[in-house]
Structure formats: C-alpha cells, structure tokens
Subunit: 155 residues, 4 copies
Amino acid sequence: MRHELPLFQPKDPDYAARVRASFDMQQAMQLIGAELVELEPGYAEIHLAHDPKITQQHGYIHGGVVGMIADSAAGYAANTLTPHDTSVLTVEYKLNLLAPADGQRLVARGEVIKPGRTLLITRAEVFAVRDEKWALCAVMQQTIMAMHGKKDGTA
Amino acid sequence: MRHELPLFQPKDPDYAARVRASFDMQQAMQLIGAELVELEPGYAEIHLAHDPKITQQHGYIHGGVVGMIADSAAGYAANTLTPHDTSVLTVEYKLNLLAPADGQRLVARGEVIKPGRTLLITRAEVFAVRDEKWALCAVMQQTIMAMHGKKDGTA
Amino acid sequence: MRHELPLFQPKDPDYAARVRASFDMQQAMQLIGAELVELEPGYAEIHLAHDPKITQQHGYIHGGVVGMIADSAAGYAANTLTPHDTSVLTVEYKLNLLAPADGQRLVARGEVIKPGRTLLITRAEVFAVRDEKWALCAVMQQTIMAMHGKKDGTA
Amino acid sequence: MRHELPLFQPKDPDYAARVRASFDMQQAMQLIGAELVELEPGYAEIHLAHDPKITQQHGYIHGGVVGMIADSAAGYAANTLTPHDTSVLTVEYKLNLLAPADGQRLVARGEVIKPGRTLLITRAEVFAVRDEKWALCAVMQQTIMAMHGKKDGTA
C-alpha cells in the first residue's frame, strides 16, 4: 500500500531513535512479544511471533492483540513526523478483522494518510504470514493527536 | 448505560457457563490479567487490575489493552444471546479513547444494542477506577457475527 | 440515553441562537428537509419527514441521509458547548445501520460524551417513527474538532 | 489505490446493468446530483458536481454528502461481486474527513478489500477536484452485507 502515497519529510532528523525509545518504554508491547522492525518517515512496521499466550479460544492470535499492533504501528508512523518534543496519543481507531490471525507471525504496517499539525490521520494493514504466504487479516483507520511540547516518558 | 435498554431473553439457559468456559480458553485474557466478573443476558463486565506489564510509555494502561477488554466485554455480551452451539467473532469495532487509563483498575462494560440472527450490534464503555472514583476513559461501537453450528474450542 | 450523562454548562449563553443560525446556513439540510427541533447544552435533536426524494432503492430513507442527520445532530450538540467565536468540524464518525429507516419521520438525537477544549467526543441515535412507535435504526460515534476564533459563515 | 489489489471475477456477468439499475432507483442520489461513472468488478466510482444546494455553512460540499457518495461508491463496488439475485446493505461505515470538500466536483472511489459470501469489507476515498488538481478529502472503511435471494426493487 505504500507506493501510492506521498513521501514525507520528517521534522525531526532523529525521529528513528526517538520513536524506538518510546516503543521500548511500552511494557505492553514486550508482554505480547511485539517488535518494531522498520521505520521510515510516515511509516512503521511491527512484527509479532505466534505464541500460545496471546491466543483466543480457537488457538489463533487474539483479535485484541491484532488491534494492539495495528494501533501501535499506525501511531508510531504518525510519531515519525512530529517534532522532537512531541508525543502522540490515539484519539480513536476503527478495525475490521477480515480473517483469523492464523500465522507463524503477524506483520502490521502503519502509514500516515494526512499529517496535520494537531491531528494525523493514519491507516494500518495486518498480515498473517504462514510459510511465507501473506494473508491480509485486518485493516484499520485511525486518528492520532500530536501533543506538542510533551515528550514521551515525562509526567 | 444499562437501564435504557430492553431486557433480553437468552436462547441458551446455560449461557453463563458456556461464556465463562470460552473466556477461560482465551490465554491472551489471562496474560493481561483480565477477569470476567459479571454476566447477564446481553451484558458482560470485565475487570482489569493495573500492572506495570500492561502499560504504555507514560505508565498508564496501554490503549491497546483498553481496546482488548472493550472488544471482549462487548463480544461476550453478544455471546450470552446466541444459541448453545454458536460461537461469535468480531467483525469490526471502533474505539474512542477519551482519557488516559489512569486507575488502580479498569472496568469494561459491554452490552448488546441490536441482537440479529447473523449480526449483533454492541457497544462498550471502559472506566478507570481510582480510589472508587470512576472516570470514563473509552467508548466502543462494535459488530459481532454469530457462527451458527460452530462451538468454541472446536477446530 | 440522556439521563445517564452529566449536565453541561454552556460557555456561550447565546448558544441556541448561534447554533440555529449555523444550521440555517446549511443548504444541504434544507435540501433533504431536516429540521433542528431541540437544543440543550450538549444535546441536539434533528427531525426529518419521509419524502420520496430522499429514498433508496427499496423506498426507505437512504442510509446516507440517516448518516447526514446523525452527523449533524451530534456535531451541533458539540457546538452548543463551544465559545461564541468557535465553529466545529467533523473529524470522523462511525455509523452502524441497525434497521431500515422505515418511518413517517426520523428523529436523530446527538449528545456530547466528552467535551474537550480541542476535541469533543459525541454520539447519536436515530429512530424511525411510524404511528408513534419508535424503532432504533442507527447509532453513531463521532469526533468533533473545535476551531477556536473561527466563526461560522466567515471565510 | 487500485493497483495493489487482487482482480475479482464477478459471479454475475451482467453486474454492470444490474448495479446501474439499482443506482437509478436511489432518488437520494439524484437529489444531490450524484452520477455512477465507472464500474469494474470490485470497484465503483461516483462523481458529484458542486452545487450550492448541497453545501454546509462555509460553502463547501456538506460532509454528510461526502459520506453519502463514499458509502454508495463502496456499497456498489461490493454489489458488482454479488450474484444476480442479491442486493446489498450497509452494516456500518467509518469516515474520516481530511480536508474541506473544496472542489468543482468530487470523485468517490469505492473498492472491495475482502469479498466474503455474507459480508464484504470495502473502502472508499473521496477526492475534491479543482482545476484538475486532486485533493484527498475523505477516507472510509465499511462493512456490507449480501442479502441472498433478495433482488433490488422487490418488497
């Protein structure tokens, strides 16, 4: 889905280090085993290996966990475009679950559609990967708010 | 939000045991520490104690975890109204995060708005509770699909 | 749905005249025949009479028209709480259509759930009324942005 | 957005005539001046010329009207893939308004993401076109239900 979109110019040249530090502070991401694998301006990709501890009653990865990595991938995509002293928060998102998250791993790709100063509109796609076959299992549309002057990790 | 709604008659008199068994099979719910506390026809309530392992970068409970318990509370509210041989799956949901999940515990209340045969429309509210003061921190609207003839825990 | 919510104190004592003037500038509302019937702080109600010109292929009122009055009712509910020099715009909304809009008239009730300074979170319910029997036909959840210092009708 | 998607094989070889006949029965589409311009399997495009009668208080095309054509474009995209005796209805949609609908005309492009037998998941993008410059003004994500055995225009 990436090639149709405009390329973005980051306001913070050190966006990657800043976003990775924020991700590392999210204990919930470590709890489920999520990894922030790729970052570009306006784009973030999170990978998640299958593990029984994150499953639902049929043995697939829980839909709520799918939502967590979709939300995070798109939120961090937005965060790549904000100034260095700015954190982001999710105003809202809408997730469609298209198929069971039946894979050895999941890949969540978040991207910015519209980078406003206060609000950034994003979307994400989540794929379940089994034996290198990719199946789209969720799509999300999201609104992110930039908190100017509020760095991550500060009270 | 409950008193405005019609009361529902469950099709399965043993809905509570069935729904609790399904919840207990969701390892992801155990991972985050969620408990299914209350069940009535068309209603489910999930509680979640604060724990550092489920936090985001500011120390509050992660928005994705808030989404998980909202999704589950509303999905199990729907599941109370389906026949005994029917499991449910989330088609989609939309979550607004209204305030940081800043509480000693969270309470997610899910309820059915419209119980169709194939699709059930639900909503949820999540409260952060601190020193017995309740603050509304998220609202969700959701579509659930009933899988007739497909019990939970069967392949 | 109104009695569960906190009462709101309007910042602009003349909110009703201001909101009605804004509604009257919306030619699209006149085109479909919508009327702004009731206003209270944090609440707005729009009525719409059935007319063949606003129908879909089965003769019911078009779902898009249902969305228009739900969006407007909740947006104007938000507008009752903003300062006098502030207009509002819809950031996003999510609408579930529960039943055909099969009535002699529709009633859309919008209300504010969370009145922030920049963002206001709202919801709406739309009822189809036939022979004074009310049927819930749509529910909506919405995010509104306040444009401080930008009055309605100014460029 | 079209080239990333799989091509679809229609079940009804006469899908185009069927879908156009359904569109022509929607008086609400005529009321606002919407035209169904392009149809392919899994894709529909609706155009709408600017007219003062469909504006909001700032003179732009009303957000609710933007929602109407997004909803219809994606719904008819779904309808191209259903059997000949099947009508579709919108279960729900979520619309983000990204910019004012400031154009001489709007173009709404709807496409199917996932064509299930009962539910079809779709999305739409709406562009405002001024002097042949295209600006993305809305994005939508939607759930459509196929009503098998229920043709359009039958009671």
